[in-house]
Amino acid sequence: MSAARNPMRDRNPLRDRVAFAGAATTGFVPRNSGRSMLSLTAQASIDVLRQCGLTAADVDGVCGSLVPAPTMQSALGIPEVSWFANPAMPFGNQVAAAVSAVHSGLCDVVLAYHTAYRLPWNTMSSLKDPFRRSSGTAGVSPAPESLFGSVGYTAWASRYIHEFGVPKEHFGYVAINDRANAAANPAAAMRTPITMDDYLGARMIRWPLSLLDMDVPVDGADAFVITTAERAADLPLPAVLVDAVALGATAHNEEEQTDSLRHHGQHVTVNALRARSSFWLDDVDVFFPYDGFTIITLNWFENAGWCKPGEAGSFLEQHRDPATGKILIDGRIPVNPHGGALSEGGTQGSGHVREAVHQLQGLAGERQVPDAKRALLTLGGFFFNAQGLTLRRAD
């Protein structure tokens, strides 16, 4: 079927009406933390509420990923909520739901969270922890001839290499930039810089992608306070305004049936986000392309419009410092300054949102991008999970 044009797509009544008042993290570790998912989530949530000067009684909305919202309400003793939800991951969905709920008046102050947790099917060591076997969704073991989940990205990487004839080094630029940046991020699980030789020599997991092309299973949590722009302005930390939000998917959103590298969820997301946002690439100070797999990042560079299809690797080659491996677009715009999911671990984008909030608040420590005013976030992958977000500092 032909793509329908929505004439109302540039309608964006929520612009500048909703804000992030704060963000906090437990940090991420690439091993079993010996803690429950709820324990990690509660720690990050309590941290962000305290930083924002809020108590449990100030929260009237709860929105999270794996830990059920009613469980979080009970664990933190939130007296009453008038809205709560557990949308599907990645984290752009939690942001979209919370921002919509605040803007529409279903609630005023949302506690939003995501917890990265090493589930049994992630690693052999996770499998040995009996408490983990009972957590999350049922342990369905897909037949090896399935493209579901991680395998789908590897499969489309094979197509990308076939169509564009690019060398593996193009994927490596993404991984090397992330680790170079993560060296300055104490929350990251993997902080040792890597060289191209390290990257090319990494253990093959699913050809054509290797260990260093995919994010790390970790334990850790991020939490956020999302509220009205007015309320955020009265709280202690600088407010970060939500400029625009978009989720995108096409009819063929199964991994194996997706139309092509030129038409998938990222294209819908970018079209919708560009129509709704008040700024685009020329005015971006820091860029957060999702990087659960290196192929996703290359595609986001192309689909956001930094370069043409198949040219992301060449673009990165031109905009990177060969000495440090760090990417700086036009000598100005850092990419995933926290090290992305390849360094923090599989955060489903919550790490990217947290770092964007901290950068725009001026709270990013030694990673601070000078005078960062506007951030572009392109979260998630190709299929049912492409998401975009533009955020700006309140002036």
Partner: protein, 163 residues
């Protein structure tokens, strides 16, 4: 076409079907496909009204919303669209990841973009590429028939379809 599905469907009960394919996504919408496997027939849903094929099996036709969808046999010939090799993965009978396990998604000849994913027999990494022409075969996987592919014409050779 309808006879194919009906004949295969008559062979085993729903309970028996589930028992033959443990852990597989067998439900109301995919049962006809799995019954087809038992008869060594690769059945893909096709709309009885507009003729459009779709995959994975859905209860209505995504093109015209007709409920008249029929699990219909395909030739099983096509062109490799995606090709990977698993160096590790979930345990499966007869799969030894010491030899990287090929997984391909094939564009079936019946309709552009209609795809089916499986493995390739008798193929090492040098012999499976995007653009290869393949044909259907059947192997045993844990006591149940599994549709798989065999490369019949390498990508780029004379007559090969470009992707």
């Amino acid at each position: 076409m309808t006879e194919t599905a009906t004949a295969a469907a008559g062979q085993v009960s729903d309970e028996e079907l589930l028992a033959r394919f443990p852990g597989q996504p067998v439900d109301h919408d995919s049962a006809a496909h799995y019954r087809g496997r038992l008869a060594h027939r690769l059945l893909i849903n096709r709309c009885g009204d507009c003729g459009t094929w779709h995959q994975p099996p859905r209860p209505v036709c995504p093109a015209c919303w007709s409920s008249n969808v029929v699990a219909t046999e395909v030739a099983g010939t096509g062109t490799v669209h995606l090709a990977i090799f698993l160096h590790q993965g979930p345990p499966a009978p007869g799969v030894d990841y010491a030899t990287p396990h090929p997984v391909v998604t094939v564009d079936l000849d019946e309709q552009p973009g209609l795809r089916f994913t499986s493995t390739v027999v008798d193929a090492d990494r040098e012999r499976v590429r995007v653009g290869d022409r393949v044909a259907l075969e059947w192997i045993d996987r844990g006591g149940a028939p599994l549709p798989v592919f065999r490369v019949v014409e390498a990508a780029g050779s004379a007559g090969g379809e470009s992707a």
